[in-house]
């Protein structure tokens, strides 16, 4: 393997006022929470007509990571993958979401296909999407406590009682 593995490097490129960085050759737009929906709408007008994926990451264990100049790293991050069928291009959006106010406007009105993804992100990370029509759990039972993909949620194990076992 070459020593010059490319890490997230700063570039001067901006897109709709948001800095664009390159991660392993893939373009990543770092969006502020205030401009999140507006940027996705502007990108939709630019031809990024499909939102293929939306997910969250809990950076509890990496508080000092670099996310680009001028951007305050927060505990949660929402990652949106956009796809353009006409430009044959992908674009990734990363939005910082603070732990104290874990919410983000919903993309439902721009890309209705994010409905299930946002519910999943809410279920797994506890990030609320305001304006979502049905902000309920999707994978876990509805009376479940906690959000399993958070880093402070122990993987744990459930003791299984086997029939006829001596313990």
């Amino acid at each position: 393997m070459s020593d010059a593995v490319e890490t997230t490097v700063e570039t001067v490129e901006t897109l709709h006022g948001c800095p664009v960085v390159s991660s392993r050759g893939q373009r990543v737009v770092l969006v502020a929470r205030e401009n999140y929906v507006a940027t996705v709408k502007a990108l939709l007008a630019d031809g990024y007509d499909m939102c293929v994926d939306l997910t969250g990451v809990d950076y509890l264990g990496m508080p000092t990571r670099s996310v680009g100049a001028g951007i305050q790293p927060e505990r949660f991050e929402v990652v949106v993958n956009l796809l353009s069928l006409t430009l044959r291009d992908r674009l990734r959006l990363r939005v910082q979401v603070p732990e104290s106010d874990a919410q983000l406007p919903s993309l439902f009105d721009v890309h209705p296909g994010t409905e299930a993804h946002e519910r999943e992100t809410y279920d797994m990370f506890g990030i609320t999407f305001t304006g979502h029509p049905d902000m309920t759990r999707i994978l876990m039972p509805e009376d479940w406590d906690g959000h399993p993909l958070r880093k402070d949620y122990d993987q744990g194990s459930i003791p299984v009682q086997f029939k006829g076992s001596h313990s």
Binding site: M1, S2, A4, V5, T7, T8, S23, R24, Q26, V28, D49, M50, C51, V52, D53, T55, V57, D58, G61, M62, V79, N81, L83, L85, R88, R90, R92, F108, H111, P112, G113, T114, E115, A116, H117, E120, M124, G126, P133, M135, T136, R137, I138, L139, M140, P141, E142, D143, D145, G146, H147, P148, L149, D152, Y153, D154, Q155, G156, S157, I158
Partner: protein, 443 residues
Amino acid sequence: MSTIISAGTNEGGQELRSRSELSAKELFREVGAVLRLSEAEAAKLAEVQTEAPEDQTMIINMGPQHPSTHGVLRLMLELQGETVLRCKPIIGYLHTGMEKTGESLTYMQGGTNVTRMDYLSPLNNELVFSLAVEKLLGIDGEIPERAVWMRMLLSELNRMSSHLLFLATNGMDIGAVSMMLYGWREREEVLRFFQKVTGLRMNHNFIRPGGLAADLPAGWRDDVLEILENLPSRLEEYDILMTGQPIWRDRLQGVGAITAREAMALGATGPILRSTGVPWDLRREMPYLRYDDVEFDVIVGQHGDAYDRYAIRFNEIRESMRIVYQILDRMPSGDYRIQNKKVTPPPRARIDESMEALIHHFKIFTEGFKVPEGEVYVAIESPRGEIGCYIVSDGSSTPYRMHMRAPSFVNIQALPHMMRGGLVADAVAVISSVDPVLGEVDR
């Protein structure tokens, strides 16, 4: 014991609520008015809403144990007589936290986890995971040619086996039960080849970061040729058995229709998107492996109905066979995995001779290898659509976060839009035509 951190959530029910509990706006959204519909279409939806007072509709559950829901999918249907007014898929019955599990498995072990997601095309899951890890390691350009072509061979054979199983289950759901037996039979022949190559029929963990677990066994070419030579005449038979039959056509044509705009807005990919006339196939539009070196056609429908989705999958088997023939001609010789001391365990024979090789082997399989910090999203075309893998690495030997963009998870969102206004008897045909794998939906 596990410590559960309560975040003080207030979720509410996940279920389809009755009309009296919903505001007009919520109801409007639930029936899909948000899907960038024209004024006229939205007005038509509003009519449906007023036509059905609550005492004339009924909310019933289909599943999670219904045999034609392909696993544990539960659909809540609001019916007026035989007509489906609303539908809400309820999932999660098979959720086992595979993304959480993936965070504690090394990159070497990760394959065993992801291969169990879409259990009908396990090799494609392993492929996308391996491609993502290789991109993070920066070795994605150094994979030996033979490994790349072997991956293509396995991926295409897996597409064939998955689509053959679709033909089987689709036939069974519509009532052509003999097709079920034929489909399983052909799939079994492909699986027999997989067993010979990987040792297992399913959940292979054969495609690994850096290459593959082993080389192709002696005589593999004859085995593949046998599959390829037997299949065309049988596909002809199924064509006669189903495609041309008036009953078959009546059950599928015009059922579960969806427009290209709707499919794109919902994020649907794969045969669902192609059935609406959008020629989008990642193998051709954003080629990975060596798909730009082989010739094949992207099959496209035009009506976006269940029949088109059936026909697309049927013909994709033939296209995959075309690709496999080309792979047989061009399979290069060479190594089946990258010779990189960091990622590749030493060969078995070296372990007997060299203490260092033994230690190295032991360390790779216990500690794993470290992957530089970064994040990457890689997507390929699985039989069901775009399967993507998003990995965040913190520089250790396990992924900090591993997320799979499962095509079935997204495609299932299209069900309410396909079923709305249709008959409850067509619901089975619609589910079947989406071809969801619940292992992948729930992960």
